[in-house]
């Protein structure tokens, strides 16, 4: 085995973990750097644990993995505490928040919650409750991020969330959503899919249903524009699907995806996890999905662009094509979320402001 860690070797670890037994210390060093850059060190500890590989990890590497595990264990614990407080705070205005993304994985104890690092907590509330939720949060000490007037009105007008809140005492950040995809994308998810049929946990906290959690995760990934750390997201989708497939038939998600207009995204997820993690998902959902998409074009796009963009962004792995693929996905993400009529003025305002800040200093637009 050569000393350098290639893209294919990196990916193969996740389907064939015993490859690690052949790793020399230099390869471990490279692997740790890539995982740290991708926010995956803690999850990798648990991946090794699940695959009974921890005892084969050299001392040098296990120290780094244990350290990352300690950090993520604490974050997972913090999520429980923060969600408790949020639940109580919003009870005062009779709102039951739906916890999304990382918080939902932690509350549902999904396979992908172990070793996770999270930058914020995401909640979903009915659009009609936004104002009362905002006020209740402020009473509890949450502070809305100060945005310049342009960004403020952009959030309010086009986004599917309020500007982020921070809690200076507890050091937490909170995103309040009123739907799972920006309305500007032209797709509306009916409120009944978001606020009915949810999972209600013992303590009354709620998350989306298991299939909606998965759908949200893949919508989030494939409508995203930043693919620097997206390997973690595709691994999330894979692990969530594995959990789901244990009790349910994956074609049910397929039907849901079709009803909501996320056919293509669901196909991406199946095809990509097949290729990265050696699953057979496209075969399982074939009859349900392939009649509705142009598989030749889609497969070309997946093979040449998405897969290249998903490789963790790191000098040790990146080839020129990966950077270009990530850039294409960046443009695509913007384009999906903003029709040209909005995108062009947005870029115009943003680049003009960047120029002014270059001349007048970075704080010109702050109040």
């Amino acid at each position: 085995m050569k000393d350098t860690l290639t893209q294919s070797l990196f990916v193969d670890i996740f389907s064939t973990p015993h490859l690690l037994e052949q790793f020399n210390l230099k390869q471990w060093e490279q692997l740790l750097r890539i995982l740290r850059g991708a926010d995956m060190l803690g999850s990798f500890y648990y991946f090794l644990d699940k695959n009974a590989q921890l005892s084969n990890v050299p001392d040098f590497a296990i120290a780094h993995l244990r350290s990352a595990k300690r950090y993520s264990d604490r974050q997972v614990q913090q999520i429980s505490a923060e969600t408790d407080i949020l639940q109580q705070t919003l009870q005062t205005v009779d709102c039951r928040p739906i916890f999304l993304k990382g918080a939902a994985y932690v509350l549902n104890k999904s396979s992908n919650h172990l070793g996770r690092v999270m930058t914020d907590i995401d909640i979903l509330v009915p659009k009609a409750d936004l104002e009362s939720v905002e006020n209740a949060l402020k009473l509890d000490g949450w502070i809305e991020k100060v945005l310049d007037d342009y960004d403020q009105q952009y959030y309010r007008k086009w986004a599917h969330e309020l500007p982020p809140f921070t809690h200076p005492e507890r050091g937490a950040t909170l995103d309040v959503h009123h739907t799972i995809i920006p309305p500007i994308s032209g797709i509306t998810v009916p409120e009944s899919f978001l606020f009915n049929e949810n999972i209600v946990l013992e303590d009354g906290k709620e998350t989306l249903s298991e299939s909606m959690v998965i759908l949200h995760c893949l919508v989030h990934l494939f409508y995203n524009e930043d693919y620097e750390k997206s390997f973690r997201d595709i691994l999330d989708i894979h692990l969530l699907l594995l959990d789901y497939e244990r009790n349910e038939d994956i074609s049910q998600i397929c039907v849901l995806a079709r009803n909501l207009g996320f056919n293509k995204e669901f196909y991406y997820a199946c095809s990509i996890t097949d290729q990265l993690f050696r699953t057979q998902r496209v075969a399982a959902v074939n009859s349900c999905i392939t009649p509705f998409i142009d598989t030749r074009l889609t497969n070309f796009f997946i093979r040449n662009i998405i897969l290249a963009a998903l490789i963790p962004s790191h000098d040790l792995l990146d080839k020129r094509w990966n950077k270009l693929a990530r850039y294409i996905m960046f443009l695509r993400g913007h384009f999906l979320k903003m029709p040209l009529g909005v995108l062009v003025p947005h870029f115009w305002v943003k680049s003009r402001r960047a120029l002014v800040m270059l001349v007048m200093g970075p704080h010109h637009y702050e109040k």
């Binding site: 210390l25 230099k26 471990w28 060093e29 750097r33 740290r36 850059g37 040098f60 120290a63 780094h64 244990r66 350290s67 990352a68 300690r70 950090y71 264990d73 604490r74 614990q77 620097e228 962004s313 790191h314």
Partner: protein, 284 residues
């Protein structure tokens, strides 16, 4: 040029390390520079120029830690202090295998005194002075305490002095090996002082903490020593710990063990004369 800095506990690689700081690194780190080239590296720093134009006009350099860039770009002449901060940043951001306390650590007869303090209190100057006068400095910036043995561990690093402290040490210890002064960092003027050779470092062993001294340098003031209760000491230590909130029960047990074995003092001083006897008394 790629350079390795072996601090004993941690190994750093500095990629594209510009040759102009090599003499300073060689003087401060001696044999720890480039030590054990075959062993794996814990943290990688990469030094990059900021833009093509900046290569020629007002050159700036930037330190990357893999994909992250925690600090603003700096003038070339300020690279050495930035590098030292980057080392601290990596340790504080990524090492949750030790309890880290913002503190200097001085050791004699295998017994450690830790001096936690806010920046500007004089903890580095105190450590530097005593490090050049028979004590061993395990760190002038953070106490690195093993979560199992509860012993404090040594790093092979220079100390870092700010502003007036540089002249104080030059005056008191004229023979000290001091790096060129980096003028005008965001913390003022900075110079680094070599406190031991690698050979001396290799003789050090993990040490038990026996006292915690909160130092406060005050000009023109007699030595003033106040004993603190262990309860007050505990809460002050929590306040100075970098990662106590992350370590949970292991952090508590480690800190409790340190507190159980330690005496606690607040001290203010303007000269090191009387201080020496006091510190010697703590390790007898």
């Amino acid at each position: 040029m790629n350079t390795i800095l072996d601090l004993g506990i941690y190994r750093f690689a500095i990629e594209h390390c510009p040759s102009f700081i090599s003499p300073s690194l060689a003087a401060l780190y001696d044999n720890s520079l480039g030590l054990f080239p075959e062993k794996p590296i814990d943290y990688h720093l990469t030094i990059k120029n900021t833009s093509l134009i900046r290569r020629f006009i007002k050159p700036q350099v930037c330190i990357y830690i893999d994909n992250q860039r925690p600090f603003h770009p700096v003038k070339k002449s300020l690279l050495l202090p930035s590098l030292e901060w980057a080392l601290n940043w990596c340790i504080a951001s990524f090492d949750f295998n030790h309890l880290l306390i913002h503190s200097s650590v001085i050791v004699k007869n295998g017994k450690a005194i830790i001096c936690p303090a806010q920046p500007g209190s004089g903890k580095s100057t105190l450590a530097t002075y005593f490090g050049l006068r028979g004590w061993r400095v395990y760190s002038d910036e953070m106490a690195i305490i093993n979560l199992h043995s509860h012993l404090v561990r040594p790093m092979h690093r220079p100390s870092s002095l700010k502003n007036k402290s540089i002249d104080v040490i030059k005056h008191l210890v004229p023979e000290a090996v001091i790096s060129p002064v980096a003028k005008g960092t965001h913390k003022g003027d900075i110079a680094h002082v070599k406190l031991m050779s690698r050979l001396q470092y290799d003789e050090l062993v993990d040490a038990e903490v026996v006292a915690v001294v909160f130092p406060k340098y005050r000009s023109n003031q007699k030595l003033n020593i106040n004993t603190l209760s262990q309860t007050a000491g505990f809460s002050r230590l929590v306040h100075h710990a970098f990662n106590y909130n992350v370590l949970g029960i292991e952090g508590f047990q480690t800190l409790k063990s340190v507190v159980d074995n330690s005496q606690f003092f607040d001290i203010s001083y303007s000269s090191y004369d009387g201080l020496s006897d006091f510190l010697d008394g703590l390790i007898d």
